[in-house]
């Protein structure tokens, strides 16, 4: 079967996953954590259970308003909460804790983070630099390996496709579920860049190998054979990665849950895009080039 005949369908499938996320990115954007925008975070755990039942978000917010203006209150477990709001100092934090204690009984402070606005801006810059640095190194490497800029650029386009899907999904998650984008999300994006390239290199390597062997075949035929021959490996390899990440998402610790989810999404799109985006882009490019000449 000639898979590459269905190029358009593959692009449509991608569009189906890309467009809602892109719309969400444009209208809602991402929900930045205090790593990016600055502010304070308090994670507390109530010790006296019976009292915590009747905590209410509005009461909590109103009570603390004068000293700590809270943006969100998130329940992280049966009796623990994460409060996020504007930046407060250590002294102010103690007052806040005392106020909560008065109302809801004894509690334990699990985590306190406070980030100034400067560092948030910087993190954004560093993230963008890192992504472009990785992309540039990869384009150059693949270009050198395959002696053709087309390969490098197509691989990177497929890579950005994966990143955009990931960003889009997290934009939707942020809007509807309040999921924040933090410094670990950045790490996940950079890691999924390498997932994406990993599989793409495998297919491209096979195309190169087949091209040497069968000089009379067209690129489409060769690409089709290469995709077929590497598909088994690609799927099986993804299955093992997905098994590991899925167990981490479902069973792992709370603090790395969304990090693992981001990696999982990246692993899936990375596998898909290598065979069904990176190769078709290469073919479309070739067609356009042939038409011109």
């Amino acid at each position: 079967m000639n898979l590459m005949k269905y190029k358009k369908i593959f692009f449509l499938i991608s569009a189906f996953f890309l467009i809602p996320g892109l719309i969400s990115l444009v209208f809602f954007g991402l929900r930045p954590s205090i790593d990016f925008k600055g502010g304070s975070l308090l994670e507390i755990k109530f010790i006296e259970e019976e009292k915590t039942q009747d905590y209410q978000e509005t009461i909590l917010k109103d009570d603390l308003e004068e000293i700590f203006s809270i943006d969100t209150v998130q329940e992280t477990g049966q009796d623990s909460l994460i409060l996020r709001g504007q930046e407060i100092t250590n002294e102010e934090k103690e007052i806040v804790l005392d106020l909560i204690r008065e109302k809801f009984g004894e509690l334990e402070l699990l985590r306190f983070e406070s980030v100034g606005p400067i560092l948030g801006q910087e993190l954004l810059k560093k993230t963008i630099t890192a992504i472009f640095l990785v992309a540039a190194v990869i384009v150059i490497y693949i270009w050198q390996q395959f002696h053709d800029l087309k390969y490098g650029v197509s691989a990177v386009l497929a890579m950005f496709h994966d990143s955009l899907i990931l960003l889009g999904i997290f934009s939707l998650l942020g809007h509807f579920k309040g999921v924040e984008v933090d410094v670990l999300f950045v790490t996940a994006i950079l890691t999924t860049l390498s997932f994406s390239i990993h599989d793409t290199v495998v297919v491209y390597n096979r195309i190169r190998e087949l091209k040497k062997k069968h000089r009379h075949l067209s690129l489409t035929e060769i690409a089709n054979a290469a995709v077929w021959k590497t598909l088994g490996r690609s799927i099986n390899d993804s299955i093992t990665i997905i098994i590991m990440l899925l167990s981490l998402v479902l069973l792992g610790g709370e603090s790395v849950r969304y990090f693992s989810l981001a990696l999982l999404i990246g692993a899936i799109t990375g596998t898909y895009s290598s065979s069904f985006i990176a190769v078709p882009i290469l073919l479309v490019w070739e067609e356009l080039a042939n038409r011109k000449s």
Partner: protein, 464 residues
């Protein structure tokens, strides 16, 4: 490769795995389970390596280092306010501040703190990590205070006072009296080498007010000790050899270059006092990490079992072999973490778990290739060697991208335009080691095992 040399490789692999297994093994393993309604309970203890070799003490307990997010503690990013400090002195001032904070933290008794100086354009920063700190308020005061330098003069004590001084905890305060000369009047301290003896010495430069005061003190107190205190603690106790009137003192002594350099840094901390402001602080309670670690490790073990199950179901005997290679991978990885002292963070554990999923990639690549070659009519042995040979190039190219990403995450050269966060580095390091090691276990180790074991399995299959 002939059969004999492969057996040799297998032997080496076995030795390597056993050594790594010993290192990877936890220091204390308590087993306490019910097995067929029988209670099983015992404890295995591992001895640390602790011996003397040619008079050198060699000690390694091979324990995993836990990051701040696991063992709890505090991370603070401080900004040094440099407005009042001349441009050329700023680097020195930052280094001095770092030195001072690290001494205070040591005195306070925090084990394994890290204090890193970082510069970003016009911003001078210190990133302080204090594991196990429970009172962030106190810790902040500790690191945030500006250093105070003071020159104090020795004084004669009466018999009574002497008796009292030796009893008293703050006998230093009795023994040395303030002179009014402080870091404010000290312009800077500099390391130089004596032109004749080439010995290191320290030049102290005073401002006008300091020059007059210093002249006064030195004129009247020749042969007495004029100690320099920082944070109420004496760092150096030179004696006055002659009156110095020009505000330029030379301090000599039996310093090594290293000592003199350190001293200059400390003195500058008093001479160039830097006000410090908190940009970011993160406090993590220990209980938060413990729970997450346990959950993540369980998730990893379940994932590992499922991957092994999948490989065996799909690839049969080859799957068994790659599962052995995968276990060797896990053992080698943990041993390597312990040997090079990787600081394990929660994202790092996630990285380890992820790379277990990726480690079989090379195997799958090779096995699929072998199947393909067999379908093309080649013999088993032939397709095996072809599978390994052809797959290597692909494995290498494909892993390169992972290695590049990992290096950007780790930022080993500490470029200021890239990340410097410990969490990201923690993930990057495990990801990098995973990519490198999985190439070794996925290709080399698997090949040794396949060459050795497949003929045996095949022979058995023919018999039955």
């Amino acid at each position: 490769m002939n059969k004999k040399s492969n057996t040799k490789s297998l032997l080496w692999l076995l030795i390597l795995t056993v050594i790594a297994g010993y290192i990877a093994f936890p220091k204390r393993l308590t087993i306490d389970t019910n097995f067929f309604s029988k209670k099983i309970q015992f404890e295995i203890n591992k001895q640390a390596i602790d011996f003397y070799f040619w008079g050198k003490h060699i000690y390694k307990d091979f324990e995993l280092k836990k990051g701040l997010d696991i063992q709890g503690g505090m991370q603070v990013v401080l900004r040094a306010k440099m407005d009042e400090i001349a441009l050329e002195d700023r680097e020195t001032a930052l280094e001095s501040a770092r030195e001072i904070i690290s001494r205070r933290v040591d005195l306070y008794g925090i084990s394994e703190p890290t204090i890193q100086a970082a510069r970003l354009e016009d911003d001078y920063r210190l990133i302080v990590e204090l594991p196990g700190v429970e009172d962030p308020q106190q810790a902040l005061e500790l690191v945030g205070r500006t250093a105070e330098l003071e020159f104090r003069l020795e004084r004669e004590l009466s018999e009574e006072e002497l008796a009292e001084a030796t009893q008293s905890a703050n006998f230093l305060d009795l023994y040395f009296v303030s002179t009014g000369l402080t870091g404010q009047q000290l312009k800077k301290a500099q390391l130089q080498f004596d032109q004749q003896t080439a010995k290191p010495q320290i030049i102290l430069e005073f401002n006008d007010e300091g020059r007059d005061l210093f002249a006064e003190i030195t004129k009247n107190n020749i042969d007495k000790i004029l100690a320099i205190f920082i944070d109420a603690y004496p760092v150096v106790t030179p004696s006055i050899s002659s009156a110095i009137l020009d505000g330029r003192a030379v301090m000599t002594g039996d310093f090594t270059v290293e000592e003199a350099k350190n001293l200059a840094i400390q003195l500058n901390a008093g001479a160039l006092p830097v006000n410090i402001e908190v940009l970011e602080q993160k406090n993590i309670g220990a209980s938060l990490g413990d729970e997450s670690v346990q959950k993540s490790i369980n998730a990893g073990l379940i994932g590992l079992s499922l991957v092994i199950l999948f490989m065996i179901l799909y690839y049969g005997w080859l799957g068994v072999i790659s599962s052995i290679a995968l276990l060797i991978y896990a053992i080698l990885t943990i041993a390597l973490y312990k040997i090079i002292g990787v600081v394990l963070t929660l994202p790092g554990i996630a990285g380890l778990i992820l790379t277990i999923g990726m480690a079989v990639d090379a195997n799958i690549l090779i096995f699929e290739r072998m199947k393909e070659e067999q379908r093309a009519g080649r013999s088993y042995a032939e397709s095996m060697e072809l599978g390994f040979g052809r797959a290597w190039d692909t494995v290498k190219d494909a892993n390169l991208a992972s290695i590049v990403s990992a290096l950007v995450l780790i930022n080993p050269l500490n470029f200021s335009f890239l990340n410097t966060s410990g969490l990201i580095k923690g993930f990057g390091v495990t990801f990098l080691l995973g990519s490198l090691l999985s190439m070794f276990t996925g290709v080399t180790v698997t090949r040794i095992l396949v060459r050795q074991l497949v003929p045996i399995i095949k022979a058995k299959e023919f018999k039955s």
